[in-house]
């Protein structure tokens, strides 16, 4: 699977510290992102966004001429694109939940380059998934656009629940997703007692995507914890 199309995304980076801007730009460049604009104030950011049309904004919460929350509202009123907050306030998690401002994610400083990149990738994949090509697995391919699996030239369509479960697993490809997170994705909040239904759905998904469903290699069980989707080429 190729992530190259994500690396083309226009990223707007706003922070009042030049050193931090340099650092984040350097991290993004090293990972292959090259289309980046930086701003040190909210005013500058708004001006840039009008001509640059960013597809992802990474914002500091405290800016010299206002708060990052206000800036996000201004930016999103023009065009809706994902926003990641980078904040030095340890308690901002509360604020985000409390205000329901519609930020896509937030990170508390300091952070490791790989943590930042993981979040950016996750947001971009989630926001621009319609551009996804086929997802290549060891024994099949998933076409999320058509909600179907292609195995040995055969087209197998996915049910709504199977699609939800696979989407979450794909967004976290290579990482364990808990039973609870999968149930929540398929059945909504507080999904108690769906563990057996989930197992049934997983079995059916395996029948569609695995070369040998009895010995799964793409959709792996992590006992007691959850499942992991192994995507080729990642």
């Amino acid at each position: 699977m190729s992530l190259e199309y994500l690396k083309q995304k226009r990223i707007l980076l706003v922070d009042d510290e030049q050193e931090l801007l340099n650092l984040v730009v350097s991290i993004l460049n090293e990972d292959g992102f090259w289309n980046i604009q930086t701003a040190k104030t909210a005013k500058e950011a708004i001006a840039i966004s009008e001509t640059y049309h960013p597809e992802l904004a990474i914002l500091d919460v405290m800016l010299p001429d206002g708060s990052g929350f206000g800036l996000m509202e201004r930016l999103k009123s023009n065009s809706d694109y994902p926003v990641l907050f980078l904040t030095a306030c340890g308690e901002d998690g509360d604020k985000f939940r409390g205000f329901g401002l519609g930020a896509d994610d937030y990170m508390v400083k300091p952070f490791l380059p790989k943590e930042l990149l993981f979040r950016i990738h996750a947001i971009l994949r989630r926001s621009y998934k319609e551009e996804n090509p086929l997802v290549r697995l060891s024994g099949s391919e998933i076409d999320f656009d058509r909600a179907e699996v292609v195995k040995n030239g055969e087209h197998l369509s996915l049910t709504a629940k199977e699609y939800e479960i696979l989407s979450v697993l794909y967004r976290n490809a290579g990482r364990i997703v808990t039973i609870d997170a999968l149930c929540e994705a398929a059945w909504g909040d507080n999904p108690f007692g769906y563990e057996n239904s989930l197992m049934a759905h997983i079995r059916r998904i395996r029948e569609k995507i695995e070369g040998n469903p009895s010995h799964p290699v793409s959709l792996i069980t992590v006992k007691g914890l959850g499942y992991k989707l192994i995507v080729e080429g990642r």
Binding site: G90, P110, D180, F192, G226
Partner: protein, 463 residues
């Protein structure tokens, strides 16, 4: 307010006891007084004795020497009135001149009942006449009309009893009235003093019998309030200071971590350089954790961390923490095993999700920090009686009994007001304890079956 009925009981008991004591005292004094009057109470007897001792001889009537002397010493005069002639036929030498020498029947009746010329007189029957003794003036007070209605005397015991009862009732009412006034002014004072330790603001009306006490209590309450405000202000300032420092350290630390992280994975740099960068990354990570912990610990300690408890599935929350760690632990030096019973899929507790995640995360991180060479970590959720439990254990270097004792019982330096250089252990466990306590639970430190470290967080299930 259990003390008020007790006070009333005490008052009534004292009152009854004092009434009874007063009665006993009165009767005793009366009896003593009367008994001291006894020797004087037989003038009629004296008159009879004199009449008996009076002798008739040729030369007339005479008294024996000693009786005559007795009468004389007591300043008593005597006459004998003849039955037939109604004339005085004998008299003592000290007879005053104003006493008549002849009597009519009505005179006799008068002197028997009362006085002759203000001398109280008493009579005794002699052989041929009536002996009359005249006692000194003012020595006796005679009943002139000594007759009582029959029913009055017959009903006397009842009358006395009812008068007594009315008296007691009256005393009781007076007592209750005065005491209730006292109680009315005592009650607010008692309740004021009782609420002083609750740190509430108190204001008692400053009037009534005990107004001075009320003023003192109000003053005390004010002082306590202002002291707690001062303390709160200091605590807030301290927590804010810690929050400020930890905020300011985050941006520079981002630079250190970010560039060191880049160098660590830069293939152009020789391996020993990358190893050094990795050390910087690890140590910055430790500073980051310390800053986070310090901030949270101070907020929890000073009750400035807002708690958002909701009914949540503890199994799901702990599972997420474990999975996050597994997803991050790339070199797999600290494999985490999920040992929760497969049958336990739900354990509901009233919890703040973020704080519980933090506590469990701290425990897992703790196992990793203390076992650099690597170890297995076991995480388990259990439901037992009315509690949800999380156990995080490892098979690493472990801890001695002495250290367990220390960790379980001595205060952390952050919440200790003494100089305790020997207790400089990390904030991780303190936070776990604080979070458990904020949820009404506890955290216990012990040893795992494999000899490693083990911590058990016990949280009450909602009722």
């Amino acid at each position: 307010m259990k003390s008020i009925p007790k006070l009333i009981r005490h008052f009534i008991a004292t009152m009854l006891l004092s009434s009874v004591l007063i009665l006993i005292l009165n009767f005793t004094l009366l009896a003593l007084f009367l008994s001291s009057q006894m020797p004087n109470s037989h003038p009629w007897q004296t008159a009879d004795e004199v009449a008996g001792h009076l002798l008739w001889s040729e030369s007339g009537y005479s008294l024996p020497e000693n009786t005559a002397l007795e009468l004389k010493n007591s300043d008593i005069w005597a006459i004998l009135i003849d039955d037939k002639t109604m004339q005085v036929v004998w008299k003592t030498d000290n007879l005053p001149g104003t006493v008549p020498t002849s009597y009519s029947a009505s005179d006799i009746a008068g002197l028997t009942r009362g006085y002759i010329d203000d001398y109280p007189t008493f009579t005794g029957k002699a052989e041929a006449g009536l002996v009359v003794l005249g006692f000194p003036k003012d020595s006796f007070w005679k009943h002139m009309w000594p007759s009582w209605d029959y029913h009055l005397i017959a009903g006397l015991p009842n009358t006395i009893l009812s008068v007594l009862a009315v008296n007691i009732a009256l005393i009781f009412l007076i007592y209750v009235y005065t005491n209730s006034r006292l109680l009315r002014s005592v009650t607010p004072i008692v309740s004021g003093i009782q609420s002083l330790p609750t740190a509430q603001s108190i204001h008692i009306k400053e009037k009534g019998l005990l107004s001075e006490l009320a003023v003192s209590i109000n003053k005390t309450s004010e002082i306590l309030q202002s002291q707690s405000r001062q303390l709160r202000k200091k605590e807030t300032a301290r927590a804010n200071w810690i929050a400020g420092v930890s905020h300011d350290i985050r941006t520079p630390l981002s630079m250190v971590m970010g560039y060191a992280g880049q160098l660590e994975s830069d293939r152009r740099i020789p391996e020993d350089g990358r190893i050094k960068a990795a050390v910087i990354v690890n140590q910055s990570g430790r500073i980051r954790n310390l800053v986070n912990d310090l901030n949270l610990a101070s907020k929890l300690e000073y009750n400035m961390q807002p708690l958002h408890p909701e009914k949540q599935n503890l199994v799901a929350i702990v599972r997420q923490v474990v999975v996050d760690f597994i997803n991050m632990d790339i070199d797999n030096r600290h494999p985490i095993e999920w040992t929760t019973d497969e049958s336990l899929t739900v354990c509901i507790a009233e919890i703040d999700k973020d704080l519980i995640k933090r506590a469990v995360g701290n425990l897992i991180q703790n196992c990793m920090n203390h076992n650099e060479q690597g170890c297995h970590i076991f995480v388990r959720v259990m439901a037992e009686k009315q509690n949800c439990m999380v156990v995080v254990a490892d098979d690493g270097v472990g801890i001695s009994e002495e250290q367990i004792e220390k960790l379980n019982h001595s205060p952390h330096y952050m919440v200790c007001d003494e100089n305790t250089w020997n207790q400089r252990h990390g904030l991780g466990l303190l936070i776990v304890r604080q979070i458990a306590a904020a949820h009404g639970g506890t955290a216990q430190i012990g040893r795992s079956p494999s000899g490693g470290f083990s911590v058990r967080i016990i949280l009450p299930m909602p009722i």
